[in-house]
Amino acid sequence: MDERYSRQMLFAPIGEQGQAKICTKHVLMIGAGALGSSNGEVLTRAGIGKLTIVDRDYVEASNLQRQQLYTEEDVEQKLPKAVAAKRRLKAINSNVEIRAVVGDATPEMLAELVGDVDLILDATDNFETRMAINDISQKFKIPWIYGACVGSFGMSFTILPGQTPCLNCLLKTLPVQGMTCDTVGIIAPTVQMVVAHQTAEALKVLVEDYEAIRSSFVSFDLWRNQYSSIKMSKAKDKGCLSCGEAPTYPYLEQENLMRSEVLCGRDTVQIRPPKHGDVDLDELSTHLSALRYEVKGNPYLLSVEMDGNRMVIFKDGRALIHGTKDIAQARSIYQRLLG
């Protein structure tokens, strides 16, 4: 072990003591896509004690451009990402205990998994799951690290329960439609830069160097050569329902979650967002056409043919995903397009 982690122990803020701490810590990582691949690899190489990986998707050809744990063989085998990730991570560091969970990170699942977890790493692709992570983090007093990216633009923020503002303080409400990697693209360097910030913060949390933790919200654009660091203490909201004085953890409650159900006898899953939104169908249509999907529409709905499924999206955010009875798959398709 000494030899393996020698360069990390030589780094004074970690040292031998820090390394000993890292080796006993348990990180829960939600998502094994681009951010998850790279975050998972850095932490596994760093020698964390245990890594739990939750992901609902399988490896596809379009992932290979930026999801660093996966190979062409994983695509051929259509392996679930959590399983393919575990296989590669074990080859990299057999000392790390790795648990792969194939499934949707619902509030119930998060609450089950969070037992002895020291840190939650955000590697999801949608705000709904992030808001659930945020409430779980507050309820169980576990730090988490927000990270997100699209195009050449990325951001990160470290959330410590009881100290920093939380994601609900910043967003106040769930944005209905965000840009996603499936609508405006993504380049790998953006992923690496978000992960650099997330994993540096993760190491600080794991070695308990709280003074070094970044209190600002970082965002950057690598193609436009921008970098910004915003002080966040004023964002903390005493009335916040997630981290304020009387928390209710709203995103753990059924009524605020996206609902999905298999439509009886129709090989179709219906998805309803918690609040009626206002989807810009024109913009979505333009993006999806650029992606070479066949898109038809009228002012009230959009119909998209994609990889054997047909999705019909209504202006209020409701959608029907035809050609599947698999709720997790349907939610994944929905959130990849609508954020």
């Binding site: 699209v150 965000g178 954020g339």
Partner: protein, 77 residues
């Protein structure tokens, strides 16, 4: 006079990385509304606002010389 900085796709939508304009006396919400109309920006209502590199809520009032930046949160990963 104030300087307003635009990040990421907002920079492309506006066509410049920053503009100089006097918005002192207005609240952040009013500045957002003004810019959304002026530059046909749809998503400013969900953008995070920083005034002088510090987080600012919608009700915060802009003062002379303040530098304002908008950061649109994204969900990709």
């Amino acid at each position: 006079m104030n300087k307003i900085l635009f990040f990421a796709h907002l920079k492309d939508a506006v066509g410049e990385e920053s503009i100089r304009i006097d918005v002192s006396g207005k609240t952040v919400a009013e500045v957002k509304e003004f810019l959304a109309k002026e530059y046909e920006l749809q998503k400013l209502d969900t953008a995070m606002t920083a005034v002088n590199e510090e987080f600012a809520g919608d009700e915060e009032v802009i003062e002379q010389g303040d530098e304002i930046a908008f950061i649109p949160p994204v969900s990709g990963g």
